[in-house]
């Protein structure tokens, strides 16, 4: 079982031009350690593409294909079919895409690829906005977040909708494996990547990847933010296998969400009543759904 203690030393992404403290970069780095060299990474216009595949700096040390934004999963489909023809179907075909490219513009092609049931791993590194273009709201942005397209102002125009529950959409396709992860829980994440590799069909992992400039915190707090999200119950570590959704981490007592919200400037638009209603909504979700899920063995 892959864990910090036994991950290989070799870095398969190095010299990325990502921001200091980039959660997404860490998610890619760790995933590649588990996946190994017989992996082709497919990415689309997003922070990772801009920081690892743009001349003069090419930072990824495995074959890497950039795709157009709506079509990552379709490109992965073509690659998987091609590798099968070349008798290399044991290679990992791994999409590494942001939240926008996964659950907004990329949703259609991902749904199609999952429905076709090919063997691939789709990792969504979720920084909860279109960060590559400077923090515009996506379907994955949480309720109450400031983004440049929901900038608050006199109209209190923050993100008014809840975060899209992509894991349940993916699970509804009844694929081989699906999970949510956080870069603050590396061993949980590496184990999920391993399970994705073993899956005999499509596998999906959505890994929460905090973004210092976008979320509004000092770069040294990336892991702490990723931790608080889970500890407050606002991001739930789950996995879906054989028709069952289970928790892989159950906070013994959920911290109040203010600890998570206050750590980031993007929630500074919210007043105490707004925070209270989000707390109640979180509590309700845990009471009626998450709390009732079984834990993974």
């Amino acid at each position: 079982m892959a864990s910090i203690k036994n991950l290989p030393d070799e870095e398969l992404v190095y010299g990325s031009l990502a921001c200091a403290g980039c959660g997404g970069n860490l998610a890619l780095r760790i995933a590649l350690k588990v996946l190994g060299k017989k992996t082709v990474i497919v990415t689309s216009p997003c922070c990772v593409m801009g920081s690892t595949t743009f001349l003069p700096q090419l930072a990824i040390e495995v074959p890497c294909v950039t795709a157009i934004l709506p079509g990552t999963a379709a490109v992965m489909t073509g690659i998987a079919a091609g590798l099968k023809r070349r008798n290399e179907q044991d290679a990992n075909v791994v999409g590494f895409v942001g939240d926008g490219g996964t659950l907004d513009i990329g949703l259609q092609s991902l749904s199609g690829a999952m429905e076709r049931g090919e063997r691939f791993i789709y990792i969504c590194y979720d920084n909860e906005a279109y960060m590559n273009t400077g923090n515009q709201r996506s379907g994955s942005s949480p309720l109450g977040a400031y983004t440049t397209s929901t900038p608050g102002g006199e109209k209190k125009m923050w993100k008014e909708q809840s975060k899209k529950d992509m894991l349940r959409i993916v699970a509804a396709h009844n694929i081989a494996y699906a999970a949510t992860a956080s870069i603050a829980y590396i061993n949980d994440y590496t184990r999920k990547v391993e399970k994705a590799m073993e899956a005999r069909g499509p596998a999906y992992i959505q890994v929460l990847s905090p973004c210092p400039p976008g979320w509004g915190y000092e770069p040294n707090n990336t892991i702490q933010c990723a931790r608080l999200a889970v500890q407050t119950g606002m991001w739930v570590l789950q996995e879906y296998q054989q028709g069952n959704m289970r928790l892989t981490m159950r906070p013994a007592k959920r911290k109040p969400i203010t600890e998570y919200l206050k750590a980031q400037d993007r929630f500074s638009l919210l007043g105490p009543e707004d925070i209270q209603s989000i707390q109640e909504a979180t509590d309700y979700q845990w009471e009626t759904y998450y709390g009732r899920l079984e834990s993974s063995k």
Partner: protein
């Protein structure tokens, strides 16, 4: 790409190519106190850029590419890493 390198014939190029040393970005740099460090590898596992390297039983920093984010200093359970103003 340096002047000596050819113009690409296809937009498909052998990787890696790393002329930009991102270490030039930082304001603060991490310094590992080897006495306090017990090689728990937490810093190694949470460095976004993988610049903490295992060398001769120690954990050292590749300052060519370290951006000085400070996550390692934050996460070290033994406070063995200090962020020091870049000289």
């Amino acid at each position: 790409m340096g002047k000596s390198q050819e113009r690409p014939v296809f937009p498909h190029l052998r990787s890696p190519v790393r002329p930009i040393k991102t270490g030039s970005w930082r304001t603060f740099k991490p310094v590992v106190d080897q006495e306090k460090c017990n090689s728990c590898l937490i810093c190694w596992s949470c460095c976004p850029d993988g610049v903490i390297v295992k060398v001769e039983g120690e954990l050292r920093v590749d300052y060519d590419y370290c951006k000085g984010c400070g996550i390692c200093g934050n996460e070290c359970p033994r406070a063995a890493i200090k962020m020091v103003r870049n000289s």
